[in-house]
Each structure stands twice: as C-alpha cells, then as structure tokens.
Subunit: 108 residues, 2 copies
DNA sequence: GCACTATATCGGTGTTCGACGATTAAAGAG
DNA sequence: CTCTTTAATCGTCGAACACCGATATAGTGC
C-alpha cells in the first residue's frame, strides 16, 4: 500500500464524525444503515452526513448498495484489513529499535 | 484513547510528507534529525517543513530536544504504541463479524 | 403522471490547510 | 558585540474542508 493511499485513508478517518459512522456501520452489519439512519443518530444535517459518507466512499472504506428507495452502506472488510496491515506495518516500522533503511527492507 | 484524539492523530498522519518525516525520524533514531536535515531530503521550503513538524508535535507524535544551536526531533515511542493499539482496536472492532456495542465493550 | 421518500448535489459561508518568502529569535563562533 | 546558523513564526494566497439550507434526482406506490 502506497504512502499516498495510506495518507488518504488516514485523512478520511481523521474526523470524529466519520469514525462514528464507521463504527455504526460495523455495529449494524446485519441490516445495513442508510443515510437517514446515520443522520438520525448524529446532530448534523442530512447533507453534511451525506458528504461525510462520500469521503468514506472515495477513500474506498465503504461501499454503497441501492436497496429499494434507499442506499445502504457497508464496510469494505478486505480494504479495512489491508489498511489495518498497512497501519501495523507503519507503526512497527516506526517503533522498531534500529530501523535503518536496509534493515527496514529485510523486515518488510 | 478517545475518538477525538485518535482522529487528531489520524489527521496528523494523513499527509504523505508527514509520513515521510516520521519514517525518516525512525530511521535516524541514533543521531536524531534536525529541521534542516529533513528539509534537505524533501522538495519543500524550510518554513513548510517546520509547519509539518509542528503538526506532528501538536499531535504528540514527536518531541523536540534543543541540542546546541539546532533542534532535534525524536519519535514518542510510547505514544506511537498507544496509537498503534488504538488503531488495532479500531480495525478489529470494525472487522469483527458481530460487533454490537456491548460485545465491543467486552473485547476492548 | 403524481405524490412521497430518500439522498445526492449545488451554492454559500466561514475555517483550516499547504505552500511560500520574509522576518524574527536564539545559540555559537569569531 | 557582531556575524552566522538554525529554526520558529508571520503574512499571504489559493485550495480544501465542514457545515448548512435548498434544489435536483431517482425509485415506490398509487
């Protein structure tokens, strides 16, 4: 995963409202939430929530499924797993005691 | 770790240049980098690099140590470990098959 | 076709970001 | 004390963000 992509995902997750939305979608995995559901649990206008959802969509973290008259959103688990791995790699790389470039390579 | 704090850290890390700076500081842990060192390895003005460093400082991810006429920066490892843990918790919470609120609590 | 619901998008506003050059501040060297 | 180095800060500018209300779009049911 490229730094550019990882940074983009981090920025997408770098807002408390969007973290809340992600957690809510995770909690309601069985019967996915639509935009109205999310809006009703947040003190924000519908248009604002829709924009936050778009940010998460653009970052590839969630996906939309048209379901009748409403759009349901679900987490993209494989993508999240990849991000998780990239984050783990980042932090372990940062925290490793002697992370000189060539050593970093052999451990990557 | 609160969502607000986690989101702040994510946003701080949500820029390719800042990821580069973090990796560079990790690689040069033995003899810490100063602002000039970082500037010389990036195609950016000194003031711009200084501002990126300030963002990382404000997020608590790095710390400054005055060393003679220059300021050296080092990673705050304990903090990074906490962030790593929070990220791991976030992603595992998101990816868990049935992450209802009370179950999420008992696993946190 | 018409009303209704759900939601994406548009336009506007105020704030923050990312970048720069220029200036200031502070420590060392002479 | 002055000169140099280092780096933080200031002022500016355009772009992006966060929020809102209002408008458009699209599917459902009649």
């Amino acid at each position: 995963m490229q730094d550019e992509d990882l940074a983009g995902v981090m920025r997408a997750l770098g807002h408390p409202v969007r973290l809340s939305i992600m957690r809510m979608l995770a909690a309601q995995r069985q019967n996915p939430c639509c935009c109205t559901d999310v809006t009703q649990s947040l003190p924000l206008a519908q248009s604002t929530v829709s924009q936050h959802i778009k940010v998460l969509l653009d970052a590839g973290l969630i996906e939309r499924q048209a379901r009748g008259t409403r759009n349901c959103y679900t987490l993209r688990i494989e993508r999240l797993a990849a991000v998780n791995q990239a984050c783990g790699g980042l932090f372990s790389g940062l925290c490793k005691p002697t992370a000189t470039p060539h050593l970093a390579n052999e451990l990557a």
